[in-house]
Each structure stands twice: as structure tokens, then as C-alpha cells.
Symmetry: C2
Subunit: 214 residues, 2 copies
């Protein structure tokens, strides 16, 4: 099947949104925690977090200022900080439910049964039930001219994770932490590790590494 810019135009909006959202491949599922200067907490699911660099440790995400993301964007710009909390299978329904368009005065924590948790001297709320959590400092907020979505770049200041998922070589076993992958807008997937491949070099083919849990 071959679809082009022209055939896309004729697709009903819902089908188009589902289709295009499927095309990047599997997406990360994270909850963004923010808090306004007046103390209002907000929690929102985002499927667009991506790695930007390891040194400095930077991550990006795309927010939609005219969607339920508007409160997150306002609060993280006000406070300068936010949290990212990897969604795992046991909190999936609650995490998805944060995408509902609640009024500003409703905290998605209260509405979905997730619990806020704080670090000293860091004003954004973490999700207590999450296993891998990041405290982020805003580095750049930029409206993309191509479609007026907003690129938020943050620096990783805090990493909270269970001891047993951190491997000797630094890799975090996010599968063991139950982290889910997202496809499209609403399809969630467990993972099953195929393996790790060795660093690729021109003069010999990459080979499968034995992992700790093999």
C-alpha cells in the first residue's frame, strides 16, 4: 500500500491522527509532573520524550499548547522544573487517564489515584508509584515554526530508580522495571528483550552479547 500527501488529505481526521502517530515506531510513555507557583499540581502523559545527549544529560519532549498540555507548559515555565516518570504496566490505566481534559483546579494526581512525592528543594512532584523518575531543569522552551507545537529541553538533575534495575555497565533494565512502550495514541505494549548487540565496527559484524539475565 502506498499513501501520499494527496491521499492523506482525504482521510477522516481520526484515522489520519491514528495513522501518523503510528509511523515513528514505538514511543516512550512518561508522566510529566509540574506544580504552579501557587501550588496547583498537574500530571500529564507524554509520548514524545526523546534523548538529546548524555553529557550534559539532556532530554526533549513536544508539548501541544492548545491541548491538555497547556497547564504543564505554563507550570514548568513558571517554576523552571518538571519531573518525568516512566509509565509501567501497574499504573497504566491511571497514567492514560491523566490525558482527560480536567479543569485547572483539578489535580490529575487526585483524579487518577496517583500520589505526588517530593524531593527537598525541588518543587515539581514525582509520581510515587513510578519506578524510574527524573527531576528535570528547563533549559530551553521553543515554539516550532512548522506547526506551533512546543519543544521543551530539560537537563536531568535527579535520577531515582530501584537498585536492581541499574546494570554494571550503566544500562537501566527498563523492561525489568515494567516500563511500557506506546504505539499510536492509545496502544500499550509490554516488551520482551531480544538481546544486546555489540558496538558496531566496520571490520566485523555486530554480535549478540550475553546479558546479565540470560
Amino acid at each position: 500500500m502506498h499513501l501520499t500527501t494527496d491521499t492523506l488529505k482525504d482521510l477522516p481526521r481520526g484515522e489520519r491522527v491514528n495513522l501518523i502517530n503510528s509511523l515513528s515506531g514505538f514511543k516512550s510513555a512518561n508522566l510529566v509532573g509540574t506544580r504552579s507557583e501557587s501550588g496547583q499540581e498537574n500530571l500529564a502523559m507524554v509520548g514524545s520524550c526523546f534523548h538529546i545527549g548524555a553529557d550534559p544529560a539532556l532530554m526533549g519532549m513536544i508539548l501541544r499548547p492548545h491541548s491538555v498540555d497547556r497547564h504543564s507548559l505554563e507550570y514548568l515555565q513558571g517554576s523552571g522544573v518538571y519531573t518525568l516518570n516512566q509509565v509501567h504496566a501497574d499504573i497504566l490505566e491511571a497514567a492514560h487517564q491523566t490525558a482527560a481534559r480536567y479543569p485547572r483546579e483539578t489535580s490529575e494526581f487526585t483524579a487518577t489515584g496517583l500520589s505526588p512525592a517530593y524531593l527537598p528543594d525541588f518543587s515539581a512532584p514525582f509520581v510515587a508509584q513510578a519506578r524510574i523518575k527524573l527531576g528535570m531543569a528547563v533549559r530551553e522552551v521553543q515554539t516550532l515554526a512548522v506547526n506551533n507545537t512546543v519543544l521543551v529541553i530539560g537537563a536531568i538533575e535527579h535520577i531515582l530508580l530501584p537498585d536492581e534495575v541499574l546494570g554494571d555497565d550503566g544500562l537501566v533494565d527498563i523492561e525489568r522495571a515494567g516500563t511500557v512502550a506506546l504505539s499510536g495514541l492509545d496502544s500499550y505494549h509490554r516488551s520482551q528483550r531480544i538481546g544486546r548487540l555489540s558496538y558496531a565496527k566496520p571490520d566485523r559484524p555486530a554480535h549478540w552479547l550475553t546479558s546479565d539475565d540470560d
Copy 2:
């Protein structure tokens, strides 16, 4: 375990790179196909493709101009087009191997055994063995001030996919297409669908939808 900006500084570089690359959650795995104006083909694995918008249909990715990504970046800027090819389990070793630092005159297609395929009037090569393939037109190339990586934004002009993976409501069943998820730099995962959750509304909890393949 609680790591901070300070403890991160003390980590050996390799561990730090593995750790930080794990923290965004699962990543997409795509092969970027490009071709220089003189006809040199290039193929590179990227783990940073992300959805930007459905209308217009836009996707972003981060390239590292001082890494093996340099040829991809140069060629897509020269030609104005590139392809994205979802990596599936059957081409995983070859896809990973494209990350080796081959000299410019070596095509990663030839080196890894993947085959280039072309559409009329579109100069970038697709990966014949991939199942879900996109023809992209460059919309924006921007160096990010935070770390000098490059954000490439492209518009989806062509979508090639097998009939049987496109659902009635537009969702592409990328699991059925064998698409893999990436974690860290080198850990590859199969997926197992948990299910799809209904559109979240404030007045009722999201519920699991029955999917076609249940």
C-alpha cells in the same frame, strides 16, 4: 537509588552514556536512508525519531554531526529528502551494523546486505527489506544550542506499508509488522500488546478496548 548531577559527573563515560540513554523509556528504531547529489547512498540507525504532528504530518529526529550521522545530515540537506524505515526483528543485526564508522565511499547498504529501493521522482533510498517506510521532505534543520546536536524536522510525503497492518481506524499495527523497540544504545525488544485504552474523559475512567486481534 538517587543519582544527582554531581554523582553523574563521577561516572565513567561509557556507564554514563548507557545510563542516560536508558532514561527516556523505549525508543523507536529507524534506518535513515539518504543519497548524495553525486549518487553516494548512506544508511544510518537512529533511535530518536519522534512524532511532532499529524496535520501537517511531521516527524523529528536528532542527529549528531560529529558522529556517523554526519553523512546522513550532509546528504539530506543536499537533496532535501530522506527515508525512514522501521527496523523489524529480521533485519536487526544488519540495521545495528549500519552504526559502524564506514568510510564515506562505502555504502552501508552494500556493507550490511540491505537493499536500496527507489520511488520515481524521489531521490532518497528506501530499505527494500523494511515493512513500514516513509519518504520525508526536509522542513527544518536546526542546531540545538544546548549541545550542538541537530534537530531535523521532516514532512511525511510517502507512506509504504503492507495492507494487513493498517487498521480500520488508521492505527498501524507495528507489532504485527515486527517493529522492534530500542532501549539504551544496544538493547532491542520485541513487543507484546497489552491493549488499547479508550479516549480519556474527565467523567469516566478509560477502559480497555477490544482490538481486532483479540
